[in-house]
Each structure stands twice: as C-alpha cells, then as structure tokens.
Amino acid sequence: MKKRLLAVFLTAAMTVTLMAGCGVPGGSSDEGDSEGLKRVTYSLREEPPTLDPQLMNSIPSATAAIHTCAGLTRNVEGEIRGDGAEDWEVSDDGLVYTFHLRDGLKWSDGEDLTAEDYVYGIQRLMDPATASTYSFLGAILKNGNAVNAGEMEVSELGVTAPDESTVEITLEHPATYFTAMTAMSQFCPARQDLVEEYGQDYAADPDKAAYSGPFVVSEWKHGDEIVLAKNDQYWDKDSINLDEIVLKTVADAKTGVAMWEEGELDITEVPTEMTDQYADQSEFVFDGANDYLALNMSEGRILQNKNLRLALNYAVNREEYIQLATNGVYEPNTRYVLPDVNGSEEGTNYGEEFPYEAFPVAGDVDQAKEYLNAAMSELGYSDPSEVVIELLTTDTDLAKKQAEVLQDQIQEALGITIEIRQVTYKQRLEMEADKDFDMVFTGWVPDYPDAYSYLELWLTDGSYNHTSYSNPEYDELVIGSQTETDPKARAEMLFQAEQIFLQDAGVVPLQLRRIQLLVNDNIENFNVYFVGYNYNLVYADIKE
C-alpha cells in the first residue's frame, strides 16, 4: 500500500515538474518594468476586430480609436473641442465647414501631420475600394453617396485641403451635429504611404501604422490584449497623465469581475446576475442603446393591425420586465428617441425639453384587452389563443431572458400565443432584411447625438426600415427637419414625428441599456459617453 501511494506521489510530482518545466506561450514579460507606470486596464468581452480608423466597425474598436486618433475635433462627454483643428468656421448656410489645423502636428513616427492626411482619411472612408462598413457616415458629405457607390471619383468628394493647414468640408445638407461626427475615428487622418505599403495589413500590427492621437498602439497580442502607450508626439501630451492603457479581452463577464477583485483589471462590467452583490461599489452608465420590439407591418402580416400593436404596447409591464430580465439595471423606456440626445439649444437634452410617456410604464391590462378585442374583430378571430405572434431574437443569454419575460407577460395579459425564435445575430439580420418576422427584439445606437439619428430609420424608403412602416405625415416632418434652419422649430418637428410614430405603435419601446461598471477608486477623470464610444480614458489619471 505504501509503495503504491509513493508511486502516485511520484507521478504527481513528475506531472508538476513537467508542467512547470515549459514556459507559457504568451509569457508575462512586462510585469517587472511596470513599476511606477500609470496604467489602467479595462476588459472587453470581444477583441476589437480592427484598429484601422476607417474600417472601425464596432464600439470596442471605436473606443480604442478615440485614444489613438486625433480627429479634427474631440468629443469629451458630448462637449466638442478642437483636436487636430484649432478652430473652425461654418458658412451661413451651414454647408461649408472650414477647419484650421494646429501648427506642428506630428504623427507618432515623427512625420508631419497635414491637412492632406485628413483629406486622405475621409476619402479613404468613402472610396468603394476600401469597403468600409461605416462609410454610411459619409453620406452627409457632398457627393458622399455617389462616391461610395462608385459613380464619382474620390476627388469629387466635398473634402479638400486648400493649403497645408486648412481642411474644407462641404455637406449635402446642414447638420448641427457635424462637428460631433468629425470626432469619430472614421473621419480621422490616415497615412497614404503606409496604407499603400501594407495594404490589407495596415494597422494589423503596432508597427504597420502611425498614430495621430494621444496614445499609440504599442503591443497587440491578438485575442488577448492591446496595449496603448502615451504618444510623445501628440500636441497636447502635457494634458495626458496615463502611461499605458490595456484593453484585455475577457469573454466571460463573471471572470472579469473575479479578475477585478484580484486586481488584474481596473474597469470591468458587472453581469446582471451579480448586480446586487456589487451595487454599492458600482457606477451605472447609459451606453446609448435603446431597445425595442420592431413590429412587421408589411402587407399580410398580423401586426399590420394597429390595434394589435397597441395591445402589445399596453400589455407589457415595463417595470416588472426590467426587474425580471435585467435585475433592475436597465431603465424602462416608453418612448422612441433616446432622451440623452442633444436638445435644440447648446447644453440641453432632448428628453428634458420634450418629456413624453407614450405608454404607461407599468402597462395597462384592461386597455390592452380593449385594443385586443378591437383587433380580433377586425382580423376575424374569436379566441385570443388563436392569435399567434412570433418573437424573433438572437442567441445570447440576455436576449433569451428578455424574450422569455416578454412572452410570459404578453401571454398572461392577453391570452394570445407568443412563440420565441432564437437565431444567430447574422440570421436575425437576414430575416429582418427579408421582412420575414412578426416582431423582432432589436435596438438602435445613434451615430451622432441628434433625434434625427433615430427618426430617419422609419422613413418610408429608409435603408433600415424593415417593418414597412409608412406614414406620409411622418415622412414630411422628418424630411422637412433636414432643411429647417431654426433649431427650435426643427426639434419640435422631430418631436411631433416621434409622437406620430408612437401613436401608430410603430415599435414596442422597452428599455435604455444601462451598464453596471466596477471602476477602481483611484482612477480619476474616467468618463463614458453614449455616442460612438464607451469609455474615455484620454485625460484619466491615477491618484497616488
């Protein structure tokens, strides 16, 4: 017996030595020299798919990009400052923006950063050969759509550099939010020589790109982490306090929280299951997403019936839904436009300027039943259970839970049948585009902080209008707002359009996404914003 135990012990020892014997592929190398460096590490659920400014196609990418790129402007919690541009003028008709660059701008490799680089960046975004997913942003530029569709040469785009330090941009229509767009990475400068040298590998590795922003990419371990280091060539480097920002890919949010407790992460998201445990230590922030059920109003679809759509809207108890599905983290919402977008005056907020509650937050079952009865007599049903509506959603945990709660609530309140169909995200998009659904759980994240970003969706011929919603009155107001130069009148037109849309029950508004963040106490000046990126650590600092 003893001998046998000895044998077991020996093999165990052997295993341990074998395992210890060989190093680890990613082996930690920089642990030692990190002493004294000001470093902030935050977690991402998924690696940014690219760090190429014009190809940016996701919020994680864009979040990295605001640190490595210097746009003409910079967005700090909604306040637009000059970044590459020192100041700018707008023509009286609101169509021509003239940006004056700062003197002595440099790329991270020491080359001069000129107006030509900005022009090239924007041209590259719109060039069909670049195949950028986000080129739709450039539709606002003069000839933007034509260039992107390959009908015009890139040089005909409304972006020019009259001299080395001036960028002139001409728009298709006036847009007060345009300076917020120039802060986005897609409008950032690009290095023509490097793009031509590396082709598709441009920005694939730290040394295959140059950076214009406050930080440079100093290391990219694919799938694992991206290290951003302070850029000594940045014009405003004295305002930058951090030495390094590390973006760590941690797929499992629970793991992220455990790593935060271990001190491996400084900022991480808390999954809703753990909300209560960390409620005291957390910050709650809105990420700008507004989720709703889009309802298919195409010919022959059951939800073409307005009373049925209204019945759904009254049947949902949004308070209870939020409690069950998100543990109370998200905010129940009964309107369509994100209240956080800009109001008609500087510093105001659309939601405060035009308060609106389209449906009772806690629902109204009696009202819902009245609408249902009306709908059933119109549609020729006698028994509510014969009414079957399919709810299309994606395959994530949260999507499933949200759908389950809605299913139960609507079935309980109305006695109709809701069938959940879970598919992959890509399949959902395809089914949406094919108008092959009854209702779909979806949402919208704005690209610029303006109500128009939401309302343009439901124009009769809107690219993203997959529900066949069409109301001439709505179209007239939304299109009219584009040429209205009085900000107050414009905002009122948009608000009126929003009311019409909700009275038509075009969607079932549900929630504003709120994220629960664990942030280390010693981090100062960390801020978040809801358009274009999540986190902003540019001016952050670490307290001693």
């Binding site: 299951e273 409690q323 069950l324 395959d395 945990d397 839970k401 169909r421 879970q422 399949q427």
Partner: protein, 307 residues
C-alpha cells in the same frame, strides 16, 4: 457361470419425447440477459434510478400546481422550501417543475438520438467491416469527411429548415453522431469476419445476410448496446453545449443543459440553482455508465450461462 441369454433383455423401445426433452428451462438470448442484469445489483439499481427519473419526468410536471413558464416577480431566486422543493430561478419559476420538464427534453434527446445513432452506426459499420475492401475504404473516407465538418454548421442549417425544437436537435445529432458506433462496430466485425465460425458458415454456403444476422449480430450486440448507453450521456452533453452557445430549444421550454447554463451564471450568488441540474445530469450519467457496464456483461455471448 450364468449364461446370458436373450431372455434376460427386453426391448423398451425408443422414447423420442424423453430423449429429446431439455432438463433445464429454455432460456432465450434476451431472457438470459435480463436474468443476468437482475443479478447485477449495481446495474439493476441504475436501471431503477433511470426508470424513476423517467416516471418523475412524466408525472411531476402534471401533478405540480406550478408550470415551467409562469414567472413571479415576488419569488425570484428563492432557495429550497416546502412550496418550491428545488427553489425558484431568476424569473421566479419553480425549479422542481422545470427540472422535470428539462428531464423530458434531455432524456428524449439522449435516448432517441443515441438509439437511432446506434442503429445507423452498426448497420453502416457492419457493412463496412463485413465486406471490407473498396466498400470499406469508401465508407471510411465518407466518415472522415463527415467528422471534419463542424457540427455547428449542420445544426444551424437544420435550424433554418426545421426551427428550434427537440426534433431538430435530434436530427442534428444523428447527422454526425452515428460515426462513433460505426467505428466500434466496424472494428469488431472486421475481427469476427476472420473467425472460425464465420468461415465455417461460409463454407457451408450460408447467405451473407444470414451470416450477418445469425452469427455476427449476436456477437456485437453487447458492444452496440454498451455504446448506445454510453452515447446517451454524450447526447445530453452535446445538447448542453448547444444550449451553452444559445442554440438549444426555444424558451420557455428547457432542458437540463439550459438549466445548468442558467444556474452556472448564478454560481456565485445562488449556488443551489446549478446544484439541481448538475446533480441530475451527474446521477443520470453515473447510472447510464454503470448500466452500460452491466449490459456489456449481460449481452456477451462468451459469458452466457456463467454466473
């Protein structure tokens, strides 16, 4: 010395019936197996446990006054109690009912998928092994290719056609699942093909089909049954994995995999929620594994009649 005369003998005649009578009761193949399985205490207990789970899966949800889908905002995440025997989940649903509804799905998938897999696998494996040569080569290459196709693609494609349901998951599992039993059966048949009794049958001019059914099949039966019982856990696991990546059955229905996944999210806050499905998956696997071992012995013709 006494003489032995003819008279001393008498003809008793042939009593055919007594000559041919069998002194011990006739035990068929299946009877013998059943007799042996009953004697194997561990295997028999496992069989009973699985039987119990099946009975509970059928009746528990009917007898409870809760349903597996009714949510209750006032009873979220409650631990074990007299009203909720297994507690409630994050939507306030009764986990006792959900556990047995889950059992229905998981056991249905597990049994159906692995039995069909077993049948297809042993047919193809048998043909491949018995005929050998080019037939074998072709079948084995097909098997290699099938094994290399990511099963997730197959599942996704089937879901487009069939929707998310138990039948879709079962078909998806069958598409590649039969490969395992095909390989084992082929290996065994390859060996048996060269055995003396098959050679004898061939010399006597017995038809191929008869040889396969009468001589080879009983010899691989034990192996097939074992691999089927061992495949049930695999099917349940696979369903759990598909639930893990969000491709399981459509809510509010659930399986043990779904429950385990929902539970594991709550591990740090409400550990009991993962305990229930984990315990059920674990005990089922344990029982099936032990039963599989017992069955292997019970169906082995070499051990027939031995105690």
């Amino acid at each position: 010395m006494a003489e032995i005369t003819r008279e001393k003998f008498k003809v008793v005649g042939k009593n055919i019936s007594s000559m041919e009578s069998i002194s011990r009761p006739n035990i068929g193949y299946w009877q013998d197996a059943w007799r042996r399985i009953r004697k194997n205490k561990v295997a028999f207990f496992s069989l009973c446990l699985i039987g119990l789970y099946i009975i509970l899966a059928i009746f528990a949800p009917i007898l409870s006054h809760y349903t597996h889908y009714t949510q209750n905002v006032n009873e979220m995440n409650q631990s074990f109690s007299s009203s909720h025997w297994f507690g409630t989940d994050s939507l306030g649903r009764d986990l006792w009912v959900r556990a047995w509804m889950g059992a229905r799905v998981s056991l249905t998938i597990g049994f159906t998928a692995s039995i069909i897999n077993g049948i297809i696998g042993s047919l193809v494996g048998g043909i491949s092994g018995y005929y050998g040569g080019k037939v074998d080569l072709l079948i084995q290459r097909i098997v290699d290719v099938l094994y290399g196709i990511p099963s997730m693609i197959i599942t996704l494609l089937l879901m487009v056609v069939l929707g998310n349901g138990v039948h879709c998951l079962i078909i998806a599992m069958i598409c590649v699942g039969w490969i395992g039993s095909c390989r084992t059966v082929r290996g065994e048949v390859l060996k048996l093909r060269e055995s003396d009794f098959v050679a004898a049958a061939k010399i006597m001019g017995v038809k191929d089909i008869v040889i396969i059914v009468k001589h080879i099949l009983p010899n691989v039966m034990g192996l097939i049954i074992t691999s089927v019982t061992m495949a049930i856990p695999n099917a349940i696991f696979q369903e759990a994995f598909l639930s893990y990546i969000g491709l399981g059955i459509s809510p509010p229905d659930c399986s043990w995999g779904v429950l385990a996944k929902e539970g594991i999210q709550m591990l740090r806050v409400y550990p009991y929620q993962v305990f229930v499905p984990a315990f059920m998956i674990c005990t089922t696997m344990l029982a099936l594994n032990l039963l599989g071992d017992g069955l292997r012995d019970a169906f082995d013709p070499k051990l027939r009649g031995t105690e």
